[in-house]
């Protein structure tokens, strides 16, 4: 019986203290801009989620922002509950559910219930004709820095064989593979990119198997499009070959073989949003951009990258920044020999046609069937 009394006391004391905590927080934070961030994986994954966490940390450091976050939230009803909990318990004014799969149906289900809260989703899906006004999307043309990674890889590869370990054959992923391949082939037209789909966003065992098997085939530059490229980069380093990063900076994982990488620059995006909320300006429903807008960037070159490669990549970057460089400019054939973009036709980065890409470019070895 005594045990039970202790338990009761414990619970009561705990409740009292934490209720007090939440209560006082609400009072203190009344003046602050309150933002909530939700990640599908761990904050320190060296990848997709870490990139968002770094963005969150940048806004969280401002004294007029209160930023809370939650990691490992699956794309199920748990995402709905986490959003509601941030609104109800933390008083969040704006939410950033960062995983692609949070949008439909989860954000679309919660947003109409909380019209005073802004739901900003990473992925660029918002459509004025279909979706609520308090929902928005932001996304970046990350295939631009991926193209630059391809250029560097084309210079550095001795065998001309590159490897791409990717999650699933969806348009976003195919676009990166194609840009990387075209970047490399702009330097060395004989370059090929071998593509392996692992079937999931976080599949470390298969990623390591694919990386090792690619190294065995004489592939000497590896890159990846999975939630955390950590395993691929580390395996490349262990096998003594080069690697290009993705999502976040992975240079520390491969001090010898890391070339460069494509990174998100969410700090800029999140700081911009915070500023808009603070000054009570309207928040745009769609935010998109590439290198020029500062939404994406390249990782610093590894020490091993040659002067020539740096020069070439920097020149193209300058053209991206001035807006004169177009990646998808005909004639472009897919890897079955079919012409997908005829000569004379070109698609700017903003072109929506690119967002339904379902083909692999000439020089990519693999199939979109997975």
């Amino acid at each position: 019986m005594q045990r039970r009394t202790i338990l009761k006391g414990m619970a009561a004391a705990g409740v009292a203290s934490s209720l007090g905590l939440i209560g006082s927080r609400a009072v203190f934070a009344a003046e602050k801009v309150r933002m909530g961030f939700i990640y599908v994986g761990p904050r320190d994954d060296y990848g997709y989620n870490q990139a968002h966490y770094q963005g969150k940390s940048a806004v969280g450091a401002l004294d007029w922002v209160k930023a809370v976050d939650e990691e490992n939230v699956p794309e199920t009803i748990e995402a709905v509950k986490t959003m509601e909990s941030m609104i109800n318990l933390d008083g969040a004014q704006v939410l950033f559910p960062t995983s692609f799969g949070y949008f439909d149906p989860h954000i679309l289900k919660v947003a109409p219930k909380y019209p005073q809260v802004m739901f900003l989703h990473c992925g660029g899906l918002w459509d004025a004709s279909k979706h609520p006004k308090n929902v928005g999307s932001y996304f970046g043309y990350i295939d631009e820095p991926v193209y630059l990674s391809g250029v560097v890889a084309g210079h550095m590869s001795k065998t001309g064989k590159l490897g791409y370990i990717a999650a699933i054959p969806i348009p976003q992923v195919l676009r990166n593979i194609n840009s990387f391949t075209m970047g490399a082939r702009s330097v060395n037209p004989n370059c090929t990119t071998t593509v392996v789909f692992t079937g999931g966003w976080s599949n470390p065992v298969k990623e390591a198997e694919a990386a090792n098997s690619m190294a065995d085939q004489g592939i000497d530059v590896l890159t990846a499009h999975v939630d955390s490229p950590k395993v691929v980069i580390e395996t490349a380093e262990k096998r003594g070959i080069f690697s290009c990063g993705y999502h976040a900076d992975q240079s520390v994982l491969a001090p010898k073989g890391f070339l460069t990488g494509a990174e998100w620059n969410w700090s800029k995006v999140y700081l911009d949003y915070a500023e808009l909320i603070k000054t009570k300006k309207p928040i745009p429903n769609l935010v998109r951009g590439g290198l020029k807008e500062g939404i994406v960037k390249s990782s610093p070159y590894g020490a091993v990258v040659s002067e020539k490669a740096r020069k070439n990549a920097d020149d193209i970057r300058a053209k991206f920044m001035s807006g004169e460089f177009v990646v998808y400019k005909g004639p472009i054939k897919d890897n079955t020999g079919k012409e997908v973009i005829p000569a004379g036709k070109s698609y700017a980065q903003t072109d929506i046609w690119l967002e339904s890409m379902s083909w692999l470019v000439e020089g990519a070895i693999g199939s979109t069937k997975g």
């Binding site: 045990r3 338990l7 414990m10 619970a11 004391a13 705990g14 409740v15 009292a16 203290s17 934490s18 209720l19 905590l21 939440i22 761990p42 904050r43 809370v68 976050d69 939650e70 990691e71 490992n72 939230v73 699956p74 794309e75 199920t76 009803i77 748990e78 709905v80 509950k81 986490t82 509601e84 909990s85 941030m86 109800n88 318990l89 933390d90 692609f100 799969g101 439909d104 149906p105 992925g123 699933i168 054959p169 969806i170 348009p171 976003q172 079937g199 999931g200 967002e355 339904s356 069937k369 997975g370």
Partner: protein, 370 residues
């Protein structure tokens, strides 16, 4: 009269009162199976408090947040119940076969297959039958899909002597591969570009919420399934024959029981429960089948089944406890800056301590004295 006799008399009187209070003085066993897990829970919380203290946080405040996040308000209760309901059903998938002595860990595959077949039924019937009928048929096909899938485990075990643990585990991967194959191929809704999913089952055919709460009708369905299967396993001749098969196969054969039939039926029932969990995910949450079906509910169910000692009725509180712990994870991250892994540590401690406490059954004299 020895000196110790009054002491014994005194303790036995206390025991008598307690037993009378619990169940009319007839079931020291039930008291034992209630107090041992509760004791184990208290011990686990103490161990967790030590862990929290070592990581530099105040255990009282953390317990407070655990309570607030899990059961501190109606919002938290709904949160916990919604997370608990799929785990209840997947726990049945391990608990029922355990009665016949089989360790089946195929809940994940049965959820996926149940969700997939339910979605198929929903897509096929959408618009051609009244919503209530479509929903009912979705649940039934989900149960049939999951049940048929796991009966294979029973068939392989009985007719080919294949170890059921290995076969059910491997069948999880097959189920996930089948789902991915269909979702990326024949069943893909072309509109779901970057998160491939099947066509929608239709908003009208989905399970609604109870009143104006956010708890959908899948939750009471899961509770009913636990109660019904408890009744089947503990109060019917079928349940009794399952216990005999689990206790001693030879004895069961001598009694004239059809061992194979019992095994296959029990596996099928377990699979059906998990299949319903998948059907509810489709019908109440996603509205379509996609990779989110494979969210780890099957594996969480194994934990719950073992903690509930394979008693379908005990699964209810254990699943709610686990759902509550998961629900409070967000608050621990946001209020105390603890990583998500904290709740995994707590789950792990509870699991180990409860398993260890199994050795206490029948060893504490206090419960056994006549």
């Amino acid at each position: 009269m020895s000196v110790t006799e009054p002491v014994i008399l005194a303790t036995s009187r206390w025991r008598g009162i307690l037993q009378w209070a619990a169940c009319g003085g007839k079931c020291a066993r039930s008291l034992e199976s209630l107090l041992i897990p509760l004791g184990a829970l208290v011990v686990s919380l103490l161990l967790f408090a030590i862990f929290v203290a070592f990581s530099g946080h105040d255990p009282w405040a953390v317990f407070g947040s655990l309570y607030v996040g899990a059961f501190g308000s109606w919002f938290s209760w709904q949160n916990s119940l919604l997370r608990a309901s799929p785990i209840m059903l997947t726990a049945l998938c391990t608990a029922l076969p355990a009665r016949v002595g089989l360790v089946v860990i195929g809940g994940e595959g049965a959820v996926v297959l149940g969700g997939l077949t339910a979605a198929l039924a929903g897509i096929a019937l959408n618009g051609s039958a009244p919503p209530g009928v479509v929903l009912l048929l979705m649940l039934v096909t989900g149960a049939v899909g999951g049940g048929a899938w796991l009966s294979l485990v029973g068939v392989l075990k009985h007719y080919r002597g294949v170890n059921e643990t290995i076969s059910s585990l491997l069948m999880n991967y097959i189920a996930i591969a089948v789902l991915n194959f269909l979702v990326f191929g024949y069943l893909k809704d072309p509109a779901t570009l970057n998160k491939p999913s099947t066509y929608s089952v239709g908003e009208a055919n989905m399970i609604g919420n109870i009143g104006d709460s956010s708890v959908h009708w899948g939750v009471p369905l899961a509770l009913c399934a636990c109660v019904a299967l408890w009744f089947l396993m503990r109060r019917t001749t079928f349940g009794f024959s399952a216990d005999i098969v689990g206790g001693n196969v030879r004895a069961a054969q001598v009694c004239g029981l059809s061992v194979g039939r019992v095994m296959i039926i029990v596996c099928c029932l377990g699979g059906a429960a998990a299949g319903i969990a998948g059907a509810i995910e489709v019908a109440a949450v996603h509205g379509r089948a996609n990779a989110s079906l494979n969210a780890g509910y099957g594996y969480a169910g194994i934990l719950v089944a073992f903690m509930a000692r394979h008693n379908p009725l005990a699964i209810i509180p254990v699943a709610i406890l686990l759902g509550g712990i998961r629900a409070s994870s967000g608050l621990l991250q946001r209020v105390h800056d603890l990583p998500d892994a904290t709740v995994l540590v707590l789950q792990g401690i509870i699991f180990v301590v409860i398993l260890a406490s199994e050795t206490l059954y029948g060893r504490i004299k206090w419960f056994n004295a006549k």
